[in-house]
Symmetry: C3
Subunit: 131 residues, 3 copies
């Protein structure tokens, strides 16, 4: 458990921590606040992510994610819920381009067989195979 | 940690996994996407669940739940937050009738005394007794 | 894992449990329902929390938080997402003044060096130092 650096990119900070600490399988939850955010929604028909920006400071209501391997490197997959000064909530898939204001994260490393992401034909996503 | 089957029912898939693996006490978090959803709100006055449907593909922003025993079988209790293409968030108690598009779940089995659900007079809910 | 008392204050109940059980470092997730709530948004410019009230019974969609030390006592920091009868979601930083209707919580105690909150100059928040 610890803090992510102020003004660091949320996704990059998580992946950087995992690379430096040799974490290739794990789960995490986080709370805190961001200065702005880039989120996405996966269009299940066109099988593409559609990104959107949140251009104001927001609370991180929840950040739930996991760590697994893509092309031999730890990759974080996370979904984020954000809230504004009236409690209005905006959520989606966390993208690069989300600067941290303050973030407290708990990363739980898991042992056992690594999970590896590969393109999945059925959904078009980059999913774990064979489990 | 693993994937739930594409097009499987979210709640049934979790309970089925627990039954097959003898998990009677645990917690889980999940993220991913659903093709549609059935959620509910517990009316604290009438002490009844009021269900509602979400009839479009949505991201699973967060799915937080636990496993305990009801009538001798593992039962999952989960609350779900969903988001659409603009990040609008709809949330509630997860019901049967929520088909998975893709779902990555982390189930943590707990050891110790089982928790058993029984009708609670005060709230009308099916809650754990004696803890 | 267990239930918090009906009509108890959500934040006080968590901190009371930790004090009684000597938990000074940990994480938790919870779900359930509240009778009403007091939430807040941290204004990153003025560096002050701005509170707001939710004056109706709501589902606890997610409650994600951690336990660390402030002035030698265990303190809980949690963010809460709530939903109403139509699934509309209101979220923020959990404040005192949030009475529980029913709440199922999983607290995971962590071992190792305690994390201590102190005032952080950069953000104005009460954050962990030196990690």
């Amino acid at each position: 458990m610890g803090r992510l650096p102020h003004e660091g990119d949320l996704l990059k900070s998580i992946e950087g921590f995992c690379r430096e600490n040799g974490i290739t399988l794990g789960v995490f939850t986080a709370l805190g606040a961001v200065k702005s955010a880039r989120l996405a929604y996966y269009d299940q028909e066109s099988q593409e992510y559609r990104g959107f920006a949140v251009d104001e400071p927001m609370e991180i209501v929840s950040c739930i994610g996991n760590i697994s391997l893509l092309n031999g490197q730890p990759i974080a997959h996370a979904h984020l819920a954000l809230s504004d000064g009236e409690g209005r909530t905006i959520s989606g898939h966390l993208m690069l381009g989300t600067p941290v204001f303050a973030c407290e994260i708990f990363i739980q490393e898991l042992l056992g067989e690594p999970l590896v992401r590969r393109r999945d034909e059925e959904t078009g996503g980059t999913l774990w195979q064979g489990d």
